[in-house]
């Protein structure tokens, strides 16, 4: 994959993001933000790559592992917390006693 191709990917990805979200109702501002936040933890793939390619280099293994930890903290926490919020939104008041 050449650098230029990656730049194209970046450009199209940004446009896709802008197009997908468009107008968001205010109710969803926080969940959208924390959901997107969880997705930004996709850097876990970069951390995994580091660990796999470390070839026994212990410092790199450690850096990769810590990085993976941070990324997964972001991903797991982000998705759970978003789900908790969205569960409150979908709760129907009539379902309560």
């Amino acid at each position: 994959m050449t650098f230029i191709n990656l730049l194209w990917v970046l450009l199209l990805g940004s446009l896709l993001g802008l197009e997908l979200i468009g107008k968001v109702p205010p109710t969803l501002h926080t969940p959208l933000m924390s959901g997107a936040n969880a997705i930004s933890g996709i850097t876990m793939l970069a951390a995994l790559t580091c660990i796999v390619k470390a070839e026994g280099n212990v410092p790199l293994l450690i850096i990769g592992s810590v990085s993976l930890g941070f990324a997964l903290f972001n991903v797991v926490g982000g998705f759970f917390v978003t789900d908790r919020m969205l569960a409150m939104f979908s709760r129907k008041p009539s379902n309560k006693k």
């Binding site: 650098f3 970046l10 468009g22 109710t27 969940p31 592992s65 993976l68 972001n74």
Partner: protein, 471 residues
């Protein structure tokens, strides 16, 4: 293309598709919860894709597996625990913390690859690493400062409101630029300079911003974490990272824009203009109150009982007092009496985008009752009672009437159009902006002094005595 490459390509393609559908779904109330799960599934799919590729090619050593498992278990465990335990009222700082950790992750990956190159290093590789370190460090320190401010661990130091801070930040920015080019030139030792000065820049830019500008900063930092992920994608040559990072970056930018619009301020003025109070000290915006009417909870209850239509205007003060459940009890009583209750939500009420919506949802308020500013503003003249709870600048009529006010031009809720306005407030202290609120001086406004939660609790008692909400 070999078989493992094809498999990974197909899985990645599917993951991108599902992520895109997930983000799209997150912008609609009905589909949001499923969309969030879909995105989570797409993320796990992408991990499967990556691991299967390495298993099919170079293989993964036992040693690597051990470090992968250690990192994943610790990170996921802490993330899950925090997500389950954290109260809804501290959502802004939680989002900021998660955000910072995403930034830290890309910073570490770039550092690791810079010190121990995993592929032949080229100029482009060096540029990607530098960008990743720069954005990652700013995201991390910026988010941590934002979190500390939201938690109340950190206040805004006085010097950060002076012009001096621009000088400091320019020094940091120029030094990081120097370190950046030095690193690209192959001088790897300047990597530490880059880490340090970009971290300091993150602190220097976020520290002066506070209060009502917080939603802008939070959503901007969210956008940065996406950019950091995309930069890390360039470092390890992954299209998936770049696409996902770019989509998050775009989402953050849209929210940032919405927040700026809600305050009628440009992004530049939020980031570099300092707080409103610094600008308002000399203007005519400040002044003495001349016509304050204060009233008891009992009077407030009597007026509410006689009303047909009540609008609640919540603000950050409601979150601080954690009074959302008590508020819900009050409105339930009113609704049982056939009184129409709606909630008017200003776009920048609270400390993060959508803060009030989350808070009220926690207290079981159906989201149909939450009305956006533009929708609710024409309703105020036909409204009997407005209850302002912990909101201040967003209900200041100066923004419409007084062209010399620093708030002038900011879209506000026209609460003064209603027949009676009750403002529940601890005391006469000014709002975040430090600007006098003309609303408090109007003849149809009454102040009910006290802690929001306590006042609402008293209000429940008074309404009970009046027989409101009891069939």
């Amino acid at each position: 293309m070999t078989l493992p490459e094809i498999i990974q390509f197909v899985i990645d393609l599917l993951a991108v598709l599902l992520l895109a559908l997930g983000i799209k779904g997150l912008s609609k109330v009905k589909s949001a919860r499923d969309a969030n799960r879909l995105a989570a599934f797409a993320m796990s799919l992408s991990v499967v894709g990556l691991l299967s590729y390495y298993l099919g090619t170079s293989g993964i050593t036992i040693q690597s597996w051990i470090w992968i498992i250690i990192g994943s278990i610790i990170g996921s465990l802490f993330g899950a625990i925090l997500a389950k335990k954290v109260p809804m009222t501290s959502m802004p700082e939680t989002v900021a913390l998660f955000n910072g950790c995403g930034g830290m992750s890309s910073l570490l990956v770039a550092l690791g690859v810079a010190i121990f190159p995993i592929s032949s290093s080229s100029l482009i590789n060096q540029v990607s690493i530098s960008v990743s370190i720069f954005v990652g460090a700013i995201t991390f320190t910026g988010s941590i400062v934002a979190m500390a401010k939201l938690q109340g661990w950190l206040s805004t130091p006085g010097w950060t409101q002076s012009k001096f801070r621009h000088f400091v930040n320019i020094v940091f920015a120029v030094s990081s630029l120097i370190a950046f080019f030095d690193l690209i030139n192959g001088n790897t030792s300047s990597i530490w300079l880059l880490v340090i000065v970009s971290s300091l820049l993150g602190i220097g830019v976020t520290l002066p911003i506070g209060g009502a500008d917080m939603p802008v900063v939070i959503s901007l930092l969210n956008s940065y974490s996406g950019i950091a992920a995309a930069a890390a994608g360039f470092v390890v040559n992954s299209q998936l990272l770049i696409i996902a990072g770019a989509m998050v970056g775009a989402a953050g930018l849209i929210l940032t824009q919405v927040m700026c619009k809600g305050m009628n301020r440009s992004l530049v003025s939020v980031l570099f203009g300092g707080s409103l109070s610094a600008q308002s000290t000399a203007s005519s915006g400040s002044g003495e109150y001349t016509n304050i009417t204060s009233c008891s909870v009992e009077e407030c209850a009597l007026t509410l009982e006689a009303a047909n239509k009540v609008i609640i205007v919540p603000g950050y003060g409601l979150a601080v007092a954690q009074a959302q459940h008590t508020l819900r009890e009050v409105t339930k009583k009113l609704e049982q009496n056939g009184i129409e209750v709606i909630y008017a939500i200003h776009p920048v009420a609270g400390r993060m985008p959508g803060h009030m919506n989350v808070l009220l949802a926690e207290a079981d308020v159906p989201y149909e009752q939450l009305k956006e500013m533009d929708v609710v503003n024409p309703d105020f003249p036909a409204t009997d009672v407005v209850l302002v709870l912990g909101a201040n600048d967003v209900v200041n009529p100066q923004a419409k009437n007084d062209s010399s006010s620093p708030l002038y031009g900011m879209p506000v809720l026209d609460v003064q159009e209603a027949r009676t306005v009750f403002v529940i407030k601890r005391g006469m202290s000014a709002g975040y902006s430090g600007i006098k609120n003309d609303l408090f001086d109007l003849p149809n406004t009454s102040m009910v002094f006290g802690d929001a939660k306590k006042v609402l609790n008293d209000l429940i008692g008074e309404l009970k005595d009046l027989g409101v909400g009891e069939k």
